[in-house]
């Protein structure tokens, strides 16, 4: 039997059997053992998260699949983002990934096959709030495009948002899995975004993702297909030599991408719930990213404020030197830092 690069086993929730997406994904994963189960909640998972995520569960999302970004917490300013959960789990293995902690009790990969029902709920919400413009993404519990080659969901999502008047949809990814996007009618309503970091950080801390250059090449191809693109310098890591490294990424970015094609750029520095550090250090013993100068704030651990502010202000300067019209926004920062950002 030919082994699959992403999955060793597929579990199909009995309630998901009749959805077209289930059939479609099964056909894409021919050769991977598949079993039907009555209730996926009772599936036992391997204790090693790397093995657990190689088991795919096809199920339905009967809860609230469309909701305000969960990253929000007291004292932290959210950018008014909404998320759609179409999958949970990710084939990449970033050292800092919150999912290691967040999904520790449920580390199997889940793909929700009731995509039409989920988008139906989105449609209702958009219609009921016609006076409001929504920014919506799928990258909260997974990488937005990591499974697109087996789900083809982009072929449903992009045309859906092309018809919406009051929403902009964002794919947020660290992959170059964009082939499906290129021929789609998007009507300017979909933005494709990449998280960016220096290649050294990508190589050591973002296992399973594609290189910086591959991300930028993919962005270029999306621009060629008429999409606007976004970039998230998030999480920025403070290490010896970070200035040269991040300035280099900014230069590389503008070598590949014209500022006019950029919908937005965000900045965010490494932050994590205190419990994540232990989990991540056990899984990635050689990482040094948790040895920065961190302090507790608002239930998370962040770089000491002057360090964050220095990173943001320098990055903004480097970005503006290439694209004066772009002001990067801060992601998940404290009220105090956001207020001071303009005067930095």
């Amino acid at each position: 039997m030919k082994s699959n690069p992403q999955f060793d086993q597929v579990w199909i929730d009995r309630g998901a059997l009749l959805y077209p997406a289930t059939q479609f994904i099964r056909e894409k994963l021919i050769g991977v053992p598949a079993d039907v189960v009555d209730d996926v909640k009772f599936l036992k998972h391997p204790r090693d998260p790397a093995l657990a995520k190689r088991q795919l569960v096809l199920t339905t999302n009967k809860g609230v699949a469309f909701k305000p970004c969960q990253g929000i917490c007291e004292g932290v300013v959210c950018c008014g983002y909404f998320t759609i959960d179409i999958a949970s789990g990710c084939p990449c293995d970033c050292t800092y990934c919150i999912l290691q902690h967040y999904l520790s009790n449920n580390p199997l990969t889940l793909i929700y096959v009731n995509i039409e029902e989920i988008l139906g709920a989105v449609q209702k919400h958009l219609e009921a709030n016609a006076g409001h413009h929504f920014r919506i993404g799928t990258g909260e519990l997974s990488d937005s495009l990591a499974y697109d080659h087996i789900t083809n969901y982009s072929k449903t999502i992009v045309p859906f948002f092309a018809e919406q008047k009051n929403a902009t949809f964002e794919f947020k990814t660290k992959t170059a899995n964009i082939d499906n996007l290129l021929g789609l009618r998007h009507n300017g309503r979909t933005v494709v975004s990449w998280s960016l970091n220096p290649q050294g950080i990508i190589a050591s801390e973002e296992k399973g993702s594609v290189s910086l250059l591959e991300r930028l090449e993919a962005a270029k191809r999306c621009i060629g297909a008429g999409y606007r693109v976004g970039f998230h310098f998030d999480p920025m890591i403070n290490f010896t030599g970070w200035e040269d490294a991040y300035q280099g990424v900014v230069e590389e970015l503008f070598k590949h991408v014209q500022p006019a094609a950029i919908a937005w750029i965000s900045l965010g520095s490494l932050r994590f719930p205190p419990q994540l550090k232990n989990v991540a250090e056990k899984r990635f013993p050689s990482t040094k990213i948790f040895t920065g100068e961190f302090v507790p704030t608002n239930g998370k651990v962040r770089y000491f404020r002057p360090i964050r502010e220095e990173m943001y202000s320098k990055m903004r300067g480097w970005i503006k030197s290439h694209a004066p019209q772009i002001t990067p926004y801060l992601c998940m920062e404290t009220q105090a830092v956001i207020e001071r950002y303009d005067s930095l």
Binding site: K288, F290, T291, V295, T297, F304, R305, P306, R340
Partner: protein
């Protein structure tokens, strides 16, 4: 099974197949044996080779050895009457229902169950951890199993100081030579579990960040000198260690805290007045606390505050705080 007095030198003292006990205290037991002898017989397993393995009663046996007693009362099982696993369980139950096992003994139990008696991790978690008063958790099991990396002298230190599993577990992550170096510092202090864990984390993170050894950290910041001073009380040594390590681990924060302290001192506020800032400088708000019971005490504060305004010191603090 027969009961008989057996020569202590016939018992294979180096065979610790069923042993749970680690580093027992024998003085009281020796005194008891001196006055009334061994009341409860020990249990032995007769092997096919003709030697005797200790099943229960390690402490009684060790006490008799130290007292140079020639014989000891023993219940003797033939090999076919008592399998090795049964013998180990006899020992475990004999200990567990008479006292609380220490951290190293619980580690011994977990390790032997899994490595010697091939019990599954799942069964150890489900059945044996609760028996030893622990939560049935894989995390706890793995914390115990990790103690295999502790050197003997550190294991003894863990028992002597009643160190928590979480701290012992952190120490087990260090190499044997690093554990030796740490021991030379730790034996001078007796920090609480949270303080000890914080110190160990600070040391490990500084070493990782600077790409250097823990030994180098201990030397570079003269940590041994800090703790070895006999004129300083143990809690102060812990405090000094913590301050030194935090200033290395969090240099910008420490520097800023020092600057704030000196700016506040410059205000020369009355002794009971406290100007409090967010310890991590996230929240830009400052808080002034002052207790007074007479009008003149309030007047003193107002005068001092005003003087500081006149000298632009408040301005200076707010400007500094914004940076």
């Amino acid at each position: 099974m027969i009961l008989q007095f057996i020569q202590t030198n016939q018992i294979n003292s180096s065979d610790d197949s069923f042993r749970v006990t680690f580093s027992p205290k024998l003085e009281e037991l020796k005194n008891s044996i001196k006055s009334v002898g061994v009341i409860n017989p020990i249990t032995l397993r007769h092997t096919q080779e003709g030697t005797y393995q200790l099943v229960t009663g390690y402490k009684r046996f060790l006490a008799c050895q130290e007292l140079n007693r020639q014989t000891i009362p023993a219940l003797i099982y033939e090999p076919h009457d008592l399998s090795p696993m049964q013998a180990f369980l006899y020992n475990l139950h004999d200990n567990i229902f008479t006292r609380t096992l220490n951290v190293i003994e619980k580690f011994n139990v977990c390790l032997k169950l899994i490595k010697v008696y091939a019990v599954s991790e799942e069964e150890v978690v489900r059945q044996y951890l609760p028996l030893m008063g622990e939560e049935p958790s894989y995390k706890i099991l793995h914390q115990y199993l990790a103690l295999e990396q502790l050197i003997d002298s550190m294991r003894s230190h863990v028992i002597e100081t009643g160190m928590a599993l979480s701290s012992a577990n952190r120490i087990a992550e260090f190499s044997p030579s690093t554990q030796m170096s740490l021991l030379s510092v730790l034996k001078h202090v007796d920090p609480s579990t949270s303080k000890l864990n914080e110190l160990l984390t600070l040391i490990r993170e500084i070493a990782a960040r600077d790409g250097t050894s823990v030994e180098e950290i201990l030397q570079r910041y003269q940590l041994l000198t800090i703790v070895a001073d006999p004129s300083v009380a143990a809690p102060e040594k812990v405090q000094a260690l913590r301050q030194t390590l935090r200033s290395v681990r969090l240099p910008h924060l420490t520097e800023r805290q020092h600057q704030l302290t000196s700016l506040i001192q410059g205000l020369q506020l009355p002794d009971s007045a406290k100007l409090i800032a967010d310890p991590y400088f996230e929240d830009p708000k400052l808080k002034l606390e002052y207790q007074f019971s007479r009008p003149d005490e309030l007047n003193t504060l107002i005068t001092k505050l005003q003087e500081a305004f006149d000298k632009q010191q408040w301005q200076q603090i707010f400007e500094w705080y914004r940076v």
